[in-house]
Amino acid sequence: MTAPDSNAAQIAAAAAAANALPPAADERPEWTPRAEMTVLNREIPRLDGPQKVTGRARYTHDVRLPGMVYARLVVTPYARADVGRISLTAARKVPGVVYAETVKADDEGVRYQGYDGILVVVAAETPEAAEDGVRAVRAKVTPLRPPLVTPEQALADGAPQITRRGNVSSESSRGDSDAAAAALEGCDAVVEATYTLPVQHHVCLETHGCVVDYRGGDSATVYHSSQYVTGGPQEFAQYLELPRGNVRVICEHMGGGFGSKFGAGTEGLLACQTAKALGRPVHLMLTREDEFLMAGNRSGSKQRMVGGATKDGKLRALLVEADRLGGVGQGSLPTPPYIYDVETSWSRLRSVHTATDSNRAQRSPGHPQASFAMESLVDELAYALSIDPLAMRLANLSDPVYHRQLQRAAREIGWDAHPHKTAHGAPDADGRALGIGFGVSTWGSSSRPDAIVEVRIHPDGSLEVSNAVQDIGQGSRTLVAAIVAEEFGLPVSAVTPRIGDSSLPTSVYSGGSITTGSVAPAVKDAAFNARTALAARVATALGVEPDTLVFRGGRVEVRDDPSVGMSWKGACALLGGDPLTASGKYRDHLHGERVHGAQAAKVSVDVLTGRVRVLRMVCVQDQGIPFNRMALRSQINGGLIQALSYGLFEERVIDPIHGVMLSDDLEAYKIAGAQEMPEFTVILDDDDDRQAAMGMAEAPNIPGHGAIANAVYNACGVRVRDMPLTPDKILTKWLEMQR
């Protein structure tokens, strides 16, 4: 079944026009003062929690349709290769295989590891038959050397060209290098250091992919693990060669995206082509190995820095030469000096390409890389000057919010009582040293004006809110219901949220922390319009003015005389036979920008083994109105965990001779587990009194790994400048220090 996605909006608009009164010109929705909120600014358990923990939530992976086939990809493991003849004869003879086609043109080689390594698509009646079909494909693949998987190989004289832009691209500089170099002269301390970060994967629990329900004809429904449901029909319609309005995209639940699931991807294109060829639904989800090879990553970086400060702790000079390492992609890195104020700075950034999978957006793209380098440099300068690293930070941050937040984080982590602040500590008799480190974060939290929301009140008192937004895990399903519940003085359970379907009113992507800031104002606007319309009906029935009415505690009543009023159900019954439908759109005055965060980490370093154990992480984070305090804390916990995992373990490993990825499973690509979890102290910064909706999810995973690295130094004097902080590096550096 396919519902053209314009229909619903047309119906909604018509209904709204018929049943809603326009608000008075001088009235506009405003967020309820926080102290008066009865639903928002509280702990709201996620509505889909029970479904998720009982396994009833249906993810894209779980979709099963009549006549569906399973598609699998044949992927070369090599970064670069010549591809000779590909034989599909045996694959097509595998029982159950219904489709096997090459993706490559004759003599087309593999130029990079990732999408370009896909050779063949196989589809079969069962996943097992598809796998057997993949195994039966014969292809003559000859790896090329050097594989060009390291920056050194890519930059070597005579290295083959990797991208159309060459092996180095997008070079830019800012500032005056002579002036910055001259400013170094007057500094009391100068630190020269190179900071490197490896490529990190998103590691979505649900791999990328879709189920394309196309059975011939002129319409299709696509189930897609997507962080942009509204944008889906355009891309899938193009791949299916169907009118955009005839393609519907659904994402009920998704198992993680983190920036890697904005589009259909090559896997989406191939699923569509297979469905077109077969006229049957196609299930194409990447395997975990495929996911590591081609589903994107956070770019690595190498930042050569020279920084100088005077003995008052002021940063006076900074010179940075940085390489973004995004494979065939550009990589990302904000321009130094990132958050801190530096009197004179110069930077030159460039992309160094390798024949590896392109980077994609990943939660706060570029920021964790920039943060690690800058937080490390500030820390190194502080110790070089024997200045408290907390004081050093405060001296170079002009925004008072950071002062408030850093001081709070310091208080929570116990910095005052910490015995060694301006020089590193030493291990105890058993070889264990304790340290504390800091870092700060920022994010723009912008918005997009696209979201349209519909609120429908039924005469029986039931209430729906509809918007195509996906719940990437941040709790948007719960949020849209909660905002409507607040408006009507009802419990969240009284509202049915409808999301994750492109046939619902337009929404925005989930990326850059824009979802809440873009959708919440539109929900508020729709709820406000619905309330205004219903209030008019009730006012007429009660013979009072609409603006004397309040919706609270399941009633609609006169504010100053609660005896005059009626129950919510009674009010809705006034609607007669037809529901009341109101539409809302993005309202900029309900949105705010720019969030701040400060973090502190406390670690124990075991100098006998090199183990870094994170004991505690503190995060103080602002976010405008904290709509759902439970969801916010949960999301901040997630950011802290990602930063911890990035800092301690995560690293893509590709053999530099053969160009084969060695870390293509969750054994070799290590992510933090339950035993690595520290105590988390998440403080929602209630001193931020902005009455505005804004997202903040990017910020919490920016500074944690830098804070951990700084804590390691504070503990025992080991400064690791190349992430991750694995035991081999800690131990080797510690022993070097003892010589």
Partner: protein, 328 residues
Amino acid sequence: MNAFAWQRPGTVAQAAALLPSDVDDRSAALMAGGQDLLTELRNHLVEPERVVSLKGVAGLDALRFESDGSLVIGALVTLERLAADAQVRARLAVLAEAALSVGSPQIRAAGTVGGNLNQRPRCWYYRNEAMVCLKKGGDECFAQSGMNKYNAILGGGPSYIVHPSDLAPALVALSAEATLVSPRGARTLKLEDFYKLPSEVGPQRETVRAGDEVMTEVRVPAPAPGMRSTYAKFKERGSYDWALSAVALCLWTSGGAIADARLVLGGVAPKPWRTPSTEALLKGRVVDDETCRLAGVEALRGAAPLADNGYKIPLTQGLLTRALRSLS
């Protein structure tokens, strides 16, 4: 994985008869808990026509102390059961700790003693199907000149894998014996002699087990009175990982000094690495900084690290220090 025939013999003799005697004949695979075999099948490192499951064989799940104080462990005893057994924990701590250090709760619930002792290496070149390394019949140990952070520093060459079993160092330290049954009969040998270096048995094997031999049980002799023991395993990631290095140590003290010691290293060599010269050095010494230092030097004598795994020397020395201090 490829399709295979599933065979479920009812006796050890039937199981052994279903296995090819030639160790290089990989047409059948023996399965206990399947925790290692499944990963080998999934990655197409083995593609047997038949999988012979031991699950239908009765009597392989004994876990009991005999009247002489020795411990009998059936090959199908799960790691979870071994780790949780109160008697084992009290009398053979090194073994219980080693069992508890394996994998995850799920793996320990399914994984068996026999499977753990006979698992294949985790070297990421070996585990990657695209890399036809020495261990898979190729010409080269890619780890030797490649990414070798996790590889051997002792006993390496021509293959540089480390043996992945945690139970093996513990059981070798406890002087355990294993019983192997084949159509030719049963034999019992010391686990210490069961594991071999690639230079001894070739790079494609880790043990002297013949293709049609089924390990049925392990017997730990009663330790001399007064033994204290521990298994100090270092995992890069505490939640679910193999050892970067591990120390299995059994210690007997008398009047404050070490009377006797058994020391076996794990995670650093292609087999459990016993170091008798360190055991001899420890005798008569009290555990102090100097003893720890000397033992560390002696235990790692002959270590020949590759480019990226030199840290395993101080790591192992650190673990040994911790183990000695914890038992003194």
